[in-house]
Symmetry: C2
């Protein structure tokens, strides 16, 4: 997966995905001017549409007609459903049977079939459907086409803000961070790319220290409020992360909640906890970050309205 | 004020103002596809920056150096302060002495001097400062350069969605609606331009019926929660509105609150009540609106976080 794959992905997703603007944060520290890249404004509310759409678009038409399959309870599920509908093909989404009804309904709302299985059987169930139907698997992050799609965000940042000093990116499975990192390092080598993750799900931090992808039990990663950041890098994404990241910082749960409130109050953006970690790092971890012009990627906005209401009321 | 003034304004504000994207609302009715134009994402959180920046940019440099003055307690105050700072000139903002401290602080945050006066003396006080200092008045809506700046939104909508059937625009003083209407009617004559206002401040509806700008007492207009829509058209803006509007619809207070919740939950946008009236009309007044593809202008996002928390909690 190289910057050429990202360029090709950009051409494929053009018109189907929102070209999000960089939003200047006029309230930021003057020695570290800040811009936000609001991927929360994508049709499904998260950056995942870029990778899913690129992966579905790249399939041979005869293969695509057999349908696409994925396993996800989150934004990737809706992204694959949305992309499949755009191409007029069937999508089957395998979800854990504990998935909140609202996420099931949203995914069905894009015309996808949802198959509920016990949480440990997600990948196996998806692979079985692939084998039965001859359909194609579009994995959440562990695939070059998906990572290339996410990388288009990095290409847009560099095109809109030449010479940016630092880009802050949420990291979990590593598709977003390795895609953005690959684009930024190829197009603007002196720009620093910093990944951000919750302290309670710090698998990239630990993997970089160990110089190998670590494996935390799912219960340990599930402690964070940032429900989009409860996975961990694969061998494939870790190989990229190790090449393209200049560092990784962690943020606390309280810093994530506080950043959500700042985004709503000062940037008029609804962010989910996972989408707010990059701003949390900017606001709380300045000592661990490069100085100069900074872009924080706000990766998604699919938050429970009650949580957003609580976060706002706490700080009113 | 013609489309040529709007084209000139677009060139002046380029780079200083966010080129907001059209956001497809995938959750909208399929026979009336909807896009949102999120002016809430401008640096000061509202469309007002376009008009204020254009007006300040258009001044002769020697005149501008004497400073700019306005009267406003709302988004226009911050817009003029922001624009003045961008040009390195002084801004003096006259505000009613009942203005909430947060709005005073925000305006001072952009480096402006704030002068507090009794509410009935705002215009007189501003005019006195203009006379004393030789500074220039940048009025909130009753000025061709301000209206031309707001009109750039209409030009962007037509450029991004050729052949759009309807554009829904909040109306109050009429600067936004007459600017957008002038651009849209010149560039896409068959597109319908519909103004939207609160039932409790329905001065455009009444003015169009009477075919003359009516005058409601300020206390009557102040009943609406939409604090940005508590003024009324001037002779200047009404003359434009009468030419360019295809209709005007009103929305209830409850419909405004409900639209705010929909924007946060489904579009991940924080909108102020005034910014949500266009979506309120789309959701609640379909029988009074054109069919086909629709753009709703979300004019601003400067809302009290407690109100947003309440609106979300009520509907969770």
């Amino acid at each position: 997966m190289t910057v050429d794959d990202i360029r090709a992905a950009a051409a494929r997703i053009d018109g189907a995905v929102v070209r999000t603007p960089l939003l200047p944060a006029t309230w930021a520290a003057s020695d570290r001017p800040l811009w936000l890249k609001p991927e929360s404004l994508q049709p499904i509310g998260a950056f995942k549409l870029r990778g899913a759409y690129n992966a579905v678009a790249r399939l041979d038409e005869r293969v695509r007609r057999r349908g696409v399959v994925t396993y996800s309870s989150g934004n990737h599920a809706q992204a694959v459903a949305y992309a499949a509908r755009a191409f007029g093909v069937e999508a089957t989404i395998v979800m854990p049977d504990v998935t909140p009804q609202v996420k099931i309904d949203n995914t069905r709302g894009y015309g996808a079939e949802v198959v509920l299985v016990p949480i440990g059987q997600r990948e196996a169930a998806a692979n079985e459907i692939v084998a039965d139907r001859g359909a194609v698997l579009v994995p959440p992050f562990d695939h070059p086409d998906v990572v290339a799609g996410q990388g288009t965000i990095g290409a847009e940042i560099v095109a809109d803000l030449a010479g940016v000093d630092a880009v802050l990116v949420p990291v979990s499975g590593g598709g977003l961070a390795s895609g953005i990192g690959t684009a930024v390092k190829a197009l603007s080598p002196r720009t620093k790319v910093i990944a951000v993750e919750p302290e309670l799900s710090a698998t990239t931090t630990e993997s970089l220290s160990a110089d190998a992808a670590v494996d935390w039990p799912v219960e340990r990663r599930a402690r964070t409020i940032a429900d989009g950041l409860r996975t961990q890098p694969s061998e494939f994404t870790f190989a990229h992360l190790r090449e393209v990241l200049d560092g990784v910082v962690t943020v606390s749960e309280e810093q994530i909640r506080s950043a959500m409130a700042v985004l709503a109050r000062k940037a008029r953006l609804v962010a989910e906890p996972s989408g707010a970690v990059s701003l949390a790092a900017y606001l709380s971890r300045a000592d661990q970050l490069p100085s100069g012009s900074t872009v924080a990627v706000i990766s998604g906005g699919n938050v429970d309205p009650r949580l957003l209401a609580d976060v706002l009321a706490e700080r009113a």
